[in-house]
């Protein structure tokens, strides 16, 4: 299918099915029940799952395949967002031109930053990318305030030109991003018994783009280009003495991953039309590194899983507070209840970073291949067992 081998095609289909049915899958608990706060099936979070999935898929093309660890990819995310918002301000609220300009701009910046940073490898490369990203952050935060909106960020205004569409909507408000008339924020709700499911235009738009991005990543992984990138990671010396120039291959990977980041940034702006410098801060660059490693660097599906896991924790764990814990453990005797709540408390709410840190450490130590390796091990165990029972069944018959 689409020129993919069977295994890759089934993976793509699986991801497609999961994203299409995500509003159901992520909302397993009835509305209003105690567990409802674990539901992740609301548009805002689902959009973030796929947008950061795109970011991580692109980052993985660079880091997973070539081993070059960029610590500045959030810069491209920010550039994508600024470019998109400018398109909303100047041209129209249609998301397509915004996305196109964002991808082009982030690609150009990635070409420049990559060209310079790739003169070094290893830690020096990482530091160079970090330095560039922090410079971009500083530029966006203060120096280039007329372009970026500085501290407050870049926002839409009623008097923006928007030469291809109306400056304001019919009711006099700032118009919202849309795809040929379909507004990104539009949702339909479906109520089944106690369950409530939300289907959001923006989420499905982002999902389609993520599936395309994922498909392109699969093609790259299987292509001669992808093989060269893996060779760069494995042995640059051998690559050189085999007549291949590692530099343009790595630069191409850098630019492509920068464009993925710009695409993700544009989608963020399309869901919520503002762009701020904090999107380029170094912690944001670090986050995509964590996502990729947590899910499994160099694997196809890993970065998407990692992005999902981290965004889930960020949004769900951080919402749990002490009161909620007390209601959960209310059935316990008072002393014990307080004790357990005191122990768990540091890991929830603002402390969700602590939980993330511990999970990340456990994964890196025990599952160097990330969540994907965990999944593979479980599958192997299951298969191993079923194979055993199979042979036990068939052998006597022979």
């Amino acid at each position: 299918m689409f020129g993919l081998e069977k295994k890759d095609a089934s993976l793509l289909i699986l991801v497609a099915v999961l994203t299409i049915f995500a509003p159901f899958i992520l909302n397993p608990f009835p509305d209003g029940s105690a567990l409802a706060q674990f539901n992740a099936g609301y548009p805002d979070l689902m959009q973030r799952f796929v947008i950061f999935g795109i970011f991580a898929i692109g980052f993985n093309i660079l880091f997973g395949l070539t081993g070059y660890l960029s610590f500045g990819h959030a810069a491209f995310l920010g550039i994508g967002s600024y470019a998109a918002v400018w398109m909303f301000k100047l041209l129209s609220m249609n998301v397509i031109p915004a996305i196109i300009l964002a991808v082009i701009m982030s690609g150009l910046f990635a070409l420049l930053i990559g060209y310079i940073s790739l003169r070094r490898s290893g830690i020096y490369f990482s530091i160079l990318t970090l330095a560039f990203a922090q410079m971009m952050f500083a530029l966006a935060y203060s120096v280039l305030t007329p372009i970026t909106g500085g501290e407050t960020g870049l926002q839409l205004a009623l008097d923006d030109p928007r030469i291809l569409s109306m400056a304001s909507s019919t009711d006099g408000n700032i118009p919202v991003p849309s795809l040929f008339g379909m507004e990104m924020r539009d949702s339909t709700q479906l109520t089944v018994g106690a369950w409530k499911f939300t289907f959001n235009v923006g989420y499905y738009f982002c999902s389609v783009i993520m599936l395309v991005a994922f498909y392109i990543a699969i093609r790259i992984f299987r292509s001669p280009f992808g093989l060269m990138l893996r060779a760069v990671k494995s042995n640059q010396q051998r690559l050189n003495y085999t007549g291949l120039n590692p530099r343009p291959y790595t630069l191409a990977a850098f630019v492509i991953s920068g464009m993925y980041a710009g695409l993700a940034g544009a989608l963020m702006a399309s869901m919520d039309p503002l762009a701020g410098a904090e999107r380029m801060f170094w912690t944001a660059s670090g986050e995509v590194v964590l996502m990729t490693i947590l899910g499994g660097a160099g694997t196809l599906i890993g970065p998407v899983l990692g992005a999902g896991a981290i965004k889930y924790m960020e949004n769900i764990l951080s919402k749990i507070n002490g009161d909620i814990l007390h209601t959960w453990f209310a059935f316990l005797p008072d002393g014990l209840e307080d004790f357990i709540v005191t122990i768990i408390y540091p890991f929830i709410g603002k402390g969700w970073h602590l939980t993330l840190g511990i999970i990340f450490m456990l994964v890196v130590i025990f599952l160097p291949g990330g969540l994907v390796e965990g999944g593979q091990r479980i599958m192997q165990k299951l298969r191993g067992k079923s194979a055993d029972t199979d042979s036990a069944k068939t052998e006597p018959a022979e």
């Binding site: 020129g3 081998e5 093609r219 790259i220 299987r222 292509s223 001669p224 280009f225 992808g226 093989l227 060269m228 893996r230 060779a231 990671k233 494995s234 042995n235 010396q237 051998r238 690559l239 050189n240 003495y241 085999t242 007549g243 291949l244 120039n245 343009p248 291959y249 191409a252 492509i256």
Partner: protein, 251 residues
């Protein structure tokens, strides 16, 4: 004029004169062996041929063109492939993937962005890689993770990776070191077959005299960075200077 002409090459590492006035002329489609004791400068000489090191003085001409100042990948594209003393392969990749990369390098040059095609669909490329693997008796290992193979197998793989490039000049740095006797003999047979086709020049560094005398047309003896003698295998065998340099005997 030989296909490879090394003239007055000097290379110093601090106080150590690793190569001193090396002159070497290798004729097209012959096998030229370079022998000499440990630390004689044999590997350093090869490094100067492939762009890993730049000689302090002197010139290196290949096929009528200077290789000095060119990058390793440019020199390889000129037609020089090298097997290293410690095997250099793509350890994270499978044997087959290791083979496909040099084939791609020969077909597509030092850089070509092909991000949409599937490698596995390029049948003639796969066939070529498989044929070469078959020639070195490694077809059964095609899906193996190359880092997990024995040292001898890694070396054979590296040799196959170089041969599949169809180089004009093949540089071999101790190709049989770390190989079992049987594998050494297989390697000799392979190199003999390749040589018999008459379209490749080889420069081979080797401590195993059986290998040297089975293959070489000419032999250069290097000691302390300087060529002592250069002659045919027959004449080298009994040469007193060689015995002295090699065995440390007083002549």
């Amino acid at each position: 004029m030989g296909i490879l002409e090394v003239k007055d090459v000097n290379k110093r590492f601090g106080g150590l004169q690793a190569l001193g006035d090396v002159n070497l002329s290798v004729q097209e489609n012959t096998v030229h062996a370079i022998i000499g004791p440990n630390g004689a400068g044999k590997s350093t000489l090869l490094n100067c041929l492939v762009g890993k090191l730049i000689p302090d003085t002197g010139s290196v001409m290949f096929d009528g063109q200077s290789v000095l100042g060119r990058t390793p990948f440019e020199i390889n594209q000129m037609g020089i492939s090298r097997v290293f003393q410690t095997p250099e392969i793509f350890g994270d990749l499978t044997v087959m993937e290791n083979m496909i990369i040099p084939v791609l390098a020969r077909r597509d040059g030092s850089f070509k962005l092909r991000a949409i095609e599937d490698v596995r669909d390029e049948k003639d490329l796969i066939q070529e890689a498989e044929a070469m693997l078959d020639e070195v008796n490694m077809l059964d290992k095609r899906n193996m993770h190359s880092a997990s193979m024995s040292r001898g197998d890694k070396r054979r793989l590296e040799m196959a990776m170089c041969l599949v490039q169809k180089p004009k000049l093949l540089l071999l740095d101790e190709p049989t070191a770390g190989m079992a006797r049987a594998d050494t003999n297989n390697t000799i047979d392979l190199l003999k077959t390749i040589k018999a086709r008459g379209d490749i020049t080889m420069c081979i560094i080797e401590h195993d005299m059986h290998v040297v005398f089975s293959l070489a047309d000419r032999i250069t003896v290097l000691a302390q960075g300087t060529p002592l003698v250069e002659d045919t295998p027959e004449n080298i065998k009994g040469h007193p200077k060689v015995k002295e340099a090699y065995l440390g005997e007083a002549a």
